[in-house]
Symmetry: C2
Subunit: 157 residues, 2 copies
DNA sequence: AATCAATAGATAGCTATGTATCAAATTGCG
DNA sequence: CGCAATTTGATACATAGCTATCTATTGATT
């Protein structure tokens, strides 16, 4: 047997793996409602942003690039859950709005996300979660990606 | 402003984001060598597995499904870095081997991975990294995904 | 006022991941 | 011994992320 990977080497590998597993678990639970992570995450952020958020603001909150959000919104719009409105003040921008049809879907999302969190964090102390989150924050900072939503959350402390 | 996400809610989001950023950073550094994460990660695992590992074993070590590995190997084989050999003992399986051309590439990968780790972990204590890794392990366990390579590493302790 | 730079969103094309399914080979049970 | 179940790798299709590039609109500078 060859030499095993040390903690730091394992870290990146595990990080990617856990992120994929997490996504898969949520996809599995929400699949029957026609939702995938990119869509439910976008709906969730949309519900927590001020009204009339633009696509740019929403993309920054979700943590994806413009083109990624465009396709997600295309799907959500086709499903009748959101609508894009051209704003008179700046005709380049489009504000994104939840439609009434999204309300029950959002309830489902909140419930499922809470259930997954309960499952995942059940045996972890708050201190461990906080430490891990802090580490993730620092890594994100070093890698140059700190979405607006996260900075705002930090400022709330 | 609406209510911010709490620590647990943020956790999943940050996890996915940091994993993407990490991948992007390594891709950026290795792009000039024609490597992307899936390829360098596969080469790295291959170099640390016993000789004549099958595709199935390699997929489990890397932490991806069969079809994902198949396509990665297709690329690596086309680039002349690895070769697949049909084994006489079980003609269903194919063992995967590094070719001599892969040696300098692996050196490059090791050096780059070490540099990225140095950058990422520079301001983090060993204790924080270990705690975070433990949290990731536990989450992976709850989500049902613990690749063989990780279990082996654990057993080394 | 005209022109040029910057910004917002959309589109195309790449890489990568997953599930579902298939063919070939092997295993094992009756 | 023979046929069904299992295993391995490959393929098809869908989702999702990215960069690069395009159009439309706005803003800024001269």
């Amino acid at each position: 047997m060859t030499k095993p990977l040390d903690d730091q080497e394992q870290f990146g590998l595990r990080l990617g793996l856990v992120a994929r597993l997490w996504r898969a678990e949520i996809d599995r639970r929400l699949a029957t409602f026609g939702l995938t992570e990119s869509r439910w995450l976008t709906l969730l952020h949309l519900s927590r942003l001020p009204q009339a958020a633009t696509q740019r603001e929403l993309a920054e909150a979700v943590g994806v690039r413009g083109p990624t959000l465009v396709r997600t919104l295309d799907r959500l719009e086709a499903e009748g859950l959101i609508e894009r409105r051209t704003e008179a003040s700046d005709r380049r921008t489009k504000s994104v709005h939840l439609r009434a049809e999204a309300a029950p879907v959002l309830e489902r999302i909140e419930a499922t996300a809470a259930a997954v969190r309960a499952q995942i964090f059940s045996d972890l102390s708050q201190a461990e979660v906080t430490t891990c989150l802090k580490v993730l924050e620092q890594i994100a900072g070093k890698l140059g990606g700190t979405p607006r939503a996260m900075r705002l959350a930090d400022e709330d402390r």
